[in-house]
Subunit: 386 residues, 2 copies
DNA sequence: TTGTACGCGTTATCAA
DNA sequence: TTGATAACGCGTACAA
């Protein structure tokens, strides 16, 4: 059937893999590999995307020349370059980033893992990071852990397998083990932690000044005459919870108010828990006259509970949240809250990771960038003077 | 300096590239390639991730055997398999997805392009899609076009370069040219359009019944006694705008109300435009008594404008939005709105793309999945009877 | 200025 | 059951 293109024999022909979608043959006699011209090859194995080799063949030059032309290397004659670029367009060439990454061992991609997508906070951070990265020619591979440690580990594995050049991460609230992050650093892939950071690991972090934000929020409540201020806190293992709790505590202390253990309850940042613990607080024999909540969804849940119980805000109950979600402005007479610079946080993390990627050595000094918060005062906490 | 490992000569040695980060040499005499044992190689060119070849060498087997062991191929002895798996763990082996994708010409990744990230809508869709895809072993590469045609084209190019196996997309409102999407179909990469689809292109779409949602919303306003109902519409080129407008128009017609051109204004879905056009409507000599807005942010802007002008909602002005953003429940006495099954939309799109990927041929029938909406009635549109 | 010949890490085919 | 070796698409050191 098939005859050798060199010696014309038929009996010594055997199949020998595929070349660019076409069957390749080997003549055992003359030890000659060959493929048949396309007219003779009806069996199109799989669709083939045009590669630099296709361009090279089209123009009768070598693939290195094509590669040089496409990348604007200096040593190339203007004519061949022009011809190659035209052929590339004409053949609808699209570079294969996978092959590129493989040979350069660099993917031009950074990964980001966030715990959730449903509040405004993380999407805003992502938008900030995205802008900086894409301007620098990097892509962002976004993963969400869904507040699950398991999923987070899976995410890190996927990013590692895809050879991201860097990782930006805010941990799930379940996370107590950090091996999956250390795997990156072990491989020389820089990691920037933001927002949900922990003390045990990480040389590069971007956070807001949670302590000060919380301190000012509680100070503000005190200034507005609230004296029995409760705190709906976050999970104990998160630094943001700890710092906000510290701000709450020290503000009370500064103004000589007692720090009552029964007025601090640790939730898990979900609305469901907020409802349960909020109700508990409001139904105490001696209920608080204000609540400082660890985040806005929690604070909003408190507002709804208060409304359901007929409690007047801010007269009978003051409420302050944390984050300035877009709802905060609109709910009731407005929710007082500690605004975080979300977009800036993403930008900062992205800039930091870019620096770490470009530094060949790990000589970049450890760094924790602390961004400032802003207290946004609205209707939920302002009643007359003291 | 360097002597041939075979003939011990020195003069005929030349460098011949690198093997796994180590200098490789060629002895011109005996035509023998070799590398030096690691002790003799101080120059660690670049950090090296452990590969199947490392495992193979460690155990003295071939890389094919290692590959088979790692992928649970049948033809392998339990002993070697066990040894390989242990070595893999011990050497901290992480598979290289890039190399895998290159050889399989399949990335196990689908791309998704959304116009923005700042309303809840798209993040919700993404969460839905993410769940389905990750359960099927696929990753999601998320890009946002920022409502810019330019950026959208860039996004498609990036996804194409990364050889995604499929694309899920909701178009920017600037998009009027569809070549960048056709590029996918030309390469046999399936595309599923959702939400912001267009009539000119696309065989697979997932949308909600915008027409019916709008129709019911306006019908509801009419039932509540509103007679001069305006519509703050979306960009003319988007099908969602057209369909919602059609629902608005036909509902008015059904109940014998005049369709007044001056009461329909096309915006661009931004809050800024909503404010301008909303103000215009409310300051007409003969202003509307109700406004049906193309989305929730727009509707909320109307509510705020009304509040600023001292207009009572719903008595003097009825308002209905579209989407049921999480704010809608909380603002004022609640915003009546047409709820879209966002999560389901993501799931549906993901399931569809998975089907299209697995079907070898393009034999899958064209399909537009229409999901149903639900009218959520709240305080902004209910005043006594008719 | 251009071409040759690898290597990047993996899978698949075929021979042993 | 295992081992060689081509192939995926591209960049590049070195030779020509």
């Amino acid at each position: 059937m098939i005859e050798c293109s060199k010696c014309q024999r038929v009996e010594s022909i055997m199949k020998a893999g595929f070349v660019r979608g076409k069957q390749r043959y080997l003549c055992k006699d003359c030890n000659y590999f060959f493929t048949l011209p396309s007219a003779q090859v009806p069996t199109k194995r799989k669709r083939h995307q045009t590669t630099i080799i296709d361009i090279a063949r089209e123009l009768g030059v070598s693939n290195s020349t094509v590669s040089r032309a496409l990348h604007g290397h200096p040593d190339i004659s203007p004519d061949t370059k022009k011809a190659i670029l035209e052929a590339a367009i004409q053949l609808d060439y699209q570079p294969n980033q996978l092959a590129y990454s493989l040979v350069k061992s660099r993917s031009n991609t950074v990964g980001i893992i966030v715990p959730e997508f449903l509040t405004q906070f993380f999407p805003n951070v992502i938008v900030g990071a995205q802008g900086v990265l894409s301007r620098a020619g990097y892509h962002l591979m976004i993963m969400q852990s869904d507040e699950s440690y398991e999923t987070e580990v899976g995410n890190t594995r996927a990013l590692l397998a895809n050879r991201v050049d860097g990782l930006i991460v805010s941990m799930s609230h379940e996370t107590n083990n950090y091996e999956h992050f250390q795997a990156f650093e072990k491989r020389g892939v820089p990691v920037v932690y933001f927002n949900r950071v922990c003390r045990e690991i990480g040389t590069y972090k971007v956070v807001v000044n949670d302590y000060q934000g919380a301190f000012r929020a509680v100070e503000h409540l005190i200034a507005n005459g609230y004296r029995r201020i409760a705190h709906l806190a976050g999970p104990r293992n998160l630094v943001i919870s700890q710092e906000r709790l510290r701000g709450y505590t020290e503000a009370l202390q500064k103004y000589g108010l007692p720090v009552l253990p029964e007025l601090t309850i640790h939730g898990d940042l979900t609305v469901e828990k907020a409802r349960i613990y909020g109700r508990y607080l409001l139904e105490l024999d001696h209920p608080p006259d204000a609540i400082f909540a660890v985040n806005d969804p929690t604070a909003i849940e408190i507002l709804l509970l208060a409304r359901a119980k007929g409690l007047r805000v801010p007269e009978q109950l003051g409420v302050v949240g944390f984050s300035d979600d877009s709802i905060a402005m609109h709910i009731g007479n407005g929710l007082t809250t500690v605004k975080q610079p979300t977009n800036l946080m993403g930008q900062t993390a992205a800039e930091l990771i870019l620096k770490l990627i470009s530094e060949d050595e790990d000589t970049y000094p450890a760094e924790t960038q602390v961004l400032e918060t802003e207290l946004i005062i609205r209707g939920s906490s302002v009643r007359g003077g003291r």
